[in-house]
């Protein structure tokens, strides 16, 4: 705890995803895929809904990590150099994220999106009105453009970052400031459309201008939590010898701040719709206030806000891995619930069209839910783990490295 400047980084060990972890993750993915397949076979709408939830969940974590990475570059955040390879690796999930999200929405489209059903659209003038945005070509074209664009920028930033490890050239740092700026602008423009097409259009009559911001907030807090989990995991394994409590403190603060931001957006979207009480908008909340869903609806706020806020409020807790890990796990579960609550009540309603008494048979929590999550999650761990091993975990020749090593608060 001395304020003396360190003379240089501690030696960086090589990291390779340990075989037991890789095998366990692969086993999860295979078993999960089986359970997912079983889910699709037995109750198609539920299976595909879980596919969407899980695929979108990991896309949101990937893009949230990309956002953290871009902000680190743009703001020239000196403190974060020693942990930067973690979000850099998490964001490389995006190409496979595109594949998984594309696959489940392609094969499950009619179970997920009312607007994909020509007969329904023919009788619904609102859906006809929205067709320019809600049609398969715009949906998949937009998805490839958006996630593809995010991924391209992420890999460009990563390429510069890794190239610097060998040549130490500062031009990579400058290039990443520019790329980060481009990413932020592109992300801002696209997240609204992505959130609208992939999630909000599961309830195609409902609309909220805040929805893109809401999804951004959720993605960011969940990505922060996953960054915390990976960082502490790697640190425990001795692979991040240069990361100390001060860096964890900053990650803890990031989780704390964006959990609060998420709560702000969550409350305000609800408050404004509750207050104006316009039937076009209230349907969304009414569906989630069905007796079987409402408890989860409340739990969502507890997991994503109440727990992180009160646990992370005292300073020592933000620096303590024993506290950070359970809180990050709470958020990881909470973010899944957040997306689940967006998708499930909507698709359940679609599946039981015309018989409202069957609608409130939720919540659905069982093998298909767990299976879809493990399927995508297992792949996620394998991909991110191997990407972590592709480059040194320390950007050893970054011009801001010394600031990060000396970071003290």
């Amino acid at each position: 705890m001395s304020a003396h400047a360190p003379s240089g980084p501690a030696p960086q060990p090589d990291f390779h995803l340990p075989a037991p972890i890789r095998n366990a993750a692969l086993a999860c993915a295979v078993l999960g895929a089986a359970a997912f397949g079983y889910g699709v076979m037995s109750e198609a709408w539920r299976g595909w809904s879980n596919g969407l939830i899980s695929a979108y969940y990991f896309v949101s974590i990937g893009v949230g990590a990309a956002f953290v990475l871009a902000v680190m570059h743009v703001t020239k955040a000196g403190w974060g150099i020693v942990v930067r390879r973690v979000p850099e690796a998490l964001a490389t999930w995006l190409p496979l994220g595109l594949v998984t999200l594309g696959a489940v929405t392609y094969f499950g489209m009619h179970h997920l999106y009312e607007w994909s059903n020509a007969e329904t659209v023919a009788h619904d003038h609102l859906l006809q009105h929205k067709q320019p945005l809600l049609n398969p070509a715009a949906f998949f074209g937009g998805m490839v453009f958006m996630i593809g664009g995010w991924a391209a920028l992420v890999f460009a930033m990563r390429r510069h970052s890794i190239a610097q490890d060998t040549d130490g050239d500062e031009k990579h740092t400058h290039a990443n400031v520019r790329l980060g700026g481009i990413f932020l602008v592109f992300f801002g423009l696209t997240i609204t459309f992505g959130a609208l097409q992939w999630l909000m259009s599961t309830e195609p009559h409902w609309f909220s201008t805040m929805f893109g911001v809401y999804q951004f907030a959720g993605a960011h807090v969940a990505a922060s939590a996953v960054i915390v989990l990976f960082t502490i995991g790697l640190q425990r394994g001795g692979f991040l010898p240069n990361v100390n409590d001060n860096h964890l403190h900053d990650l803890g603060k990031m989780m704390f701040a964006f959990s609060t931001f998420w709560a702000y957006i969550w409350v305000m979207q609800y408050l404004l719709i509750w207050y104006a009480n316009i039937p076009e908008e209230t349907g969304h909340y009414l569906a989630r206030w069905e007796p079987d869903w409402v408890k989860l609806w409340g739990l969502n706020a507890v997991l994503n806000f109440v727990v992180p806020f009160f646990v992370l409020l005292p300073r020592p807790n933000k620096r303590n891995p024993k506290v950070l890990v359970p809180v990050a796990c709470t958020i990881v579960v909470g973010h899944w619930l957040d997306i689940y609550l967006q998708v499930m009540p909507a698709t359940a309603h679609l599946a039981h069209h015309g018989s409202p008494e069957t609608v409130s048979h939720g919540p659905y929590l069982g093998v298909p839910e767990l299976g879809a999550f493990l399927m995508v999650g297992g792949l996620f761990v394998v991909v991110v783990g191997s990407m972590l091993g592709r480059a040194s975990l320390l950007p050893g020749r970054d011009p801001y490295l010394m600031e990060s090593l000396a970071h003290d608060q």
């Binding site: 001395s2 304020a3 409350v267 408050l271 509750w274 207050y275 409020l313 005292p314 300073r315 003290d408």
Partner: protein, 187 residues
């Protein structure tokens, strides 16, 4: 100006330094040598000096949190009492506005938040003044020349157990003190 204090004012051995590196180093050295440090005086908050000096973490965060909790409860009580309870003294009668519930938790969020922040902020500020004895008209007890400008000083209580003038002077000199002198506390 004031009446004389019952006991004689304390006297301090004060070393004055030119920059923050010197004050940090000398403070660490004096603490390591086991000499009791009364206090340091600096023109700005020197990062790490509180640890060098061995100060405990300020408890004002708890004051702030407590104030916030009281503010939150005040807001809840104020709003429910005035909006939803009809019979008690001075309480309002429930009024139907836009068909909203009399005690709508959602609509109470903003005022709860504002009063939480107001109480937390004011109690933290009041706590600061109280903890440090800062009040309008107060004069500093021990004011070393130049510490509000460009000097950094460390003061050792000459009456404190363990005070060793020779050792202290040697350490201060080793760290390039620009001045070492005795200063008496203001009455």
């Amino acid at each position: 100006m004031h009446d004389a204090a019952p006991q004689a004012p304390r006297s301090f051995l004060v070393g004055v330094f030119d920059d923050e590196h010197a004050i940090l180093a000398v403070t660490r050295a004096i603490a390591a040598a086991g000499l009791p440090i009364h206090d340091c005086f600096t023109p700005y908050a020197v990062h790490g000096l509180e640890r060098a000096q061995g100060l405990p973490r300020s408890k004002l965060t708890f004051v702030c949190f407590g104030g916030g909790a009281i503010g939150f409860l005040t807001a809840v009580a104020l709003q429910t009492y005035t909006q939803g309870i009809e019979t008690s003294f001075l309480s309002g009668w429930p009024l139907n506005v836009g068909g909203k519930p009399f005690i709508p938790n959602t609509a109470f969020v903003p005022v709860c938040f504002e009063l939480t922040v107001l109480f937390a902020g004011l109690s933290a500020a009041a706590g600061l003044l109280l903890f440090c004895g800062l009040l309008p008209g107060r004069q500093p007890k021990l004011l070393v020349d130049g510490v509000t400008d460009d000097k950094f000083a460390i003061a050792l209580d000459t009456a404190a157990p363990g005070f060793d003038e020779a050792k202290a002077r040697a350490l201060m000199a080793a760290h390039h003190a620009v001045e070492v002198s005795y200063i008496a506390e203001a009455a």
